[in-house]
Amino acid sequence: MNTCTKRIREIASALLEKKEVEKVIGFATGTIPMASNPIVVTSKQDVEKLVFNSTCGLNLANYIRNHKGKIAVIAKGCDARNIVTHVIENQADREKLHIIGVPCSGMIDKNKVASLFKDDIVEFIEDGDTATIKSATKEETINKKDYLRHNCSLCTHKNPVIYDDLACDEGEEQSLEIPYPDVDAIQSLDANAKWQHFQELTKNCIRCYSCRNARPLCYCPTCFVDEAGPQWVGKGQDETDVNTFHFLRAFHCAGRCTDCGACVEACPMDINVRDFTRKLNKDSFELFGWEAGLDTTRRPPLDSYSPDDPNDFIK
């Protein structure tokens, strides 16, 4: 068991025992290799189910809405930023949250790991910076650093920005000379090549909406794609409708997305839907000097007005 998991269990156990919180939201080991399962723990004996490792790629800020009593939640750097966004947007009451922060060393890209094997992975065991992976026919030991998810390899906020307890020591943040290489690459294409890139990207989207639902940002009672009166977008597989969904989904995240990667993690078709949102993150940063979820006292750029806002686009 890693020290982080141990600490999480100790903290959770103490919180439940002292009745400081009603429940603890965290990760449990999944039923299949490289999977983790978000769970809610309400009793001391269930605390043993809690784990933290580099397969905990979902964002638990997604589970903190609509609780009556006080809850505790495990939060990586990006989860904590989404909690900040929730507080700013009045979706969560900071007073009713006990945040168990986990400085994070990045999540494993499960598809990248799977691509090393021809058959199914049957075992994934982590040991510090390395992981040993087995299939029925092969065994590989990898350096986890080389198999991080794309968003994790570009992460500059691994340490939680708000927390009540820390489950392990804070790590050193990296600084990036080129923070948005992927956006730059698309931006350098001409209009038709850009269009082709996104057509190819979303070609096999099945509109399961796991990207939308895995993200803590999407909490509207009725999403625009589900609205029936008026209906904003077709529900079929026509590429126009599929792309309209992705485009608007992304735009609704402008200035709110923390690039936690849960959308990509959730996608059964392995579509990098971050290609849409990353552009908006870059714009937010370049136009407004804004990175989402860093400060509970600042309003996000799209819900505040400043005379300094860039307005060259208005004729």
Binding site: V183, I186, Q187, L189, A191, N192, A193, K194, W195, Q196, H197, F198, G234, D238, T240, D241, N243, T244, F247, A250, F251, A254, F276, K279, L280, D283, F313, I314, K315
Partner: protein
């Protein structure tokens, strides 16, 4: 929004933003002319347009 549309491959000149007062008839005409010219130069849009049912 224009930036994201452009990023997706919808030409920038297809989307225009303007603030025109009801008293600014001349500005309105000028801007509509400018938009028309720019969009005409790009030709008909085929992106985000459904093809069936024609």
């Amino acid at each position: 929004m224009g930036n994201l549309l452009e990023h997706m491959g919808i030409e920038r000149d297809r989307v225009h933003f303007s603030w025109i007062s009801s008293a600014e008839a001349i500005k309105f005409v000028d801007i509509v002319k400018e938009i028309s010219e720019k969009v005409r130069a790009l030709g008909p849009n085929t992106k985000l347009v459904k093809e069936y049912n024609e």
